[in-house]
């Protein structure tokens, strides 16, 4: 949370996250280069550059696979939430690794004075009508552009400027980038190199990402069913003690949006399930230091009125709550963000 612009709001968790990330990347690339060099040392400079192209390329693919897996993993098991905390730095580093991969590719042509053949390959229009023989490097370039766009707009400045809903949709382009990468490799190196590791890596990475999204999506569908209607269109939540203390239960309004009903001791309040920061699932968070805390990045809001504590200015939509016949009910009609609507029960 911030009240003013800062390039990066460093904290210990981010430093640890980035440290582990950088160490993992260095370890992978170092190990890849060492093992391949030991098994089959490159015979000349182009072969050595080719080795670097593959090391950075596979690293970028694995990183993309992990990034796309973090979302569904965090939804399936809370223990993966820490991976989500600084995923944007993960994405920016992935772009940089992909950029190095592309730079080595250009270098490979350059050391052989063959840059014109790269140009010819990319501009031979007839090849774009083929399947096998498609200029696969063009797919890599498009992917790199998407990753650049996402890295460039990853800062909170752009999140606020574009609004979380637009920003979120823009960043869904990562799915397209992943598909393009799979085809970049499948139509590229996989056609000439019979190493079974290549199709195995592609198929397993893609299968993992798809399976995780299917399973997480399937589980999410249950949460989309509208809650049980009580009297006057209010939604029944359950007895007060059915809401975990300092936690929430989530119900779905008739319009499909989700409402998080929190309990903090004897106080009950209902907030939008969308964090004002990145639309994170606030109802999966906890009440920490008296504030509802988003599980994604720790943005905090008061339960009483959905306002972030001063000096922060974010506000959430709130909903009226009541207890009827021992059952907590919530009015699904949203109030103006920041409206006090929580209640206490005896």
């Amino acid at each position: 949370m911030s009240t003013a612009f800062r390039a990066v709001q460093w904290n210990r968790a981010k430093l640890v996250y980035d440290g582990i990330l950088l160490a993992g990347v260095a370890l992978y690339i170092g190990a890849y280069l060492a093992v391949v060099y030991w098994i089959d040392p490159p015979k000349d400079l182009p072969a050595a550059i080719d080795l670097c192209i593959r090391a950075f390329g596979t690293c970028a693919f694995i990183m993309l696979t992990i990034i796309l897996s973090i979302g569904p993993l965090a939804r399936l098991d809370r223990r993966f939430l820490p991976l989500l905390y600084n995923r944007r730095h993960f994405g920016v580093l992935t772009f940089l690794i992909a950029l190095v991969h592309a730079s080595f590719m250009i270098e490979w042509y350059a050391v052989q004075n063959a840059l014109p053949s790269l140009y010819d390959e990319l501009t031979k229009v007839s090849d774009y009508g083929k399947f096998i023989g498609f200029p696969f490097k063009a797919l890599g370039i498009v992917t790199l552009l998407i990753l650049f766009l996402m890295a460039a707009t990853s800062h909170d400045y752009w999140l606020v400027f574009l609004r979380p809903s637009v920003w979120k949709r823009l960043h869904m382009a990562l799915y397209a980038a992943y598909g393009l990468v799979v085809m970049h490799v499948a139509l590229g190196v996989m056609q000439n190199d019979r190493n079974p590791f290549i199709p195995a890596m592609l198929a397993s990475g893609f299968a993992i990402v798809t399976l995780l999204h299917v399973v997480a999506g399937w589980r999410e569908r249950a949460g989309d069913r509208a809650g049980v209607r009580g009297s006057e269109g209010w939604l029944a939540v359950g007895p007060p003690l059915s809401i975990p203390d300092k936690g929430a239960r989530i119900v779905t309004a008739p319009d499909g949006e989700r409402i998080a009903i929190f309990r903090d001791g004897t106080q009950i309040g209902a907030l939008s399930n969308l964090c004002a920061h990145q639309n994170g699932p606030i109802g999966e968070g906890r009440i920490i230091d008296g504030c509802v805390t988003c599980p994604w990045h720790g943005y905090q809001y008061r339960l009483a009125d959905g306002c972030a504590p001063p000096p922060f200015t974010e506000k959430l939509v709130t909903y009226r709550v009541r207890i009827a016949h021992g059952v907590v009910e919530v009015d699904p009609r949203p109030l103006v963000p920041g409206t006090a609507a929580a209640m206490r029960y005896e």
């Binding site: 182009p46 550059i49 080719d50 192209i53 590719m105 490979w108 042509y109 052989q112 063959a114 053949s117 399947f131 096998i132 809903s165 979120k168 949709r169 869904m172 799915y175 397209a176 992943y178 598909g179 799979v182 085809m183 499948a186 139509l187 590229g188 996989m190 056609q191 000439n192 019979r194 199709p199 592609l202 198929a203 893609f206 798809t210 999204h213 299917v214 999506g217 999410e220 989309d224 319009d255 499909g256 949006e257 969308l274 639309n279 699932p281």
Partner: protein
Amino acid sequence: MTRSQRSVHRALWPVLALAVALGFGMALALRPPPDVAAPQAAEELNP
């Protein structure tokens, strides 16, 4: 995610997954056999 984001997500995913699975399967099935791949690779300048 908002309801509309979830809808986009659910519509996008199966289409993309099917397209990529199909593309990958075709690229694997249509690969030139190893003895043909070698001279082809030598002809084209590719890392």
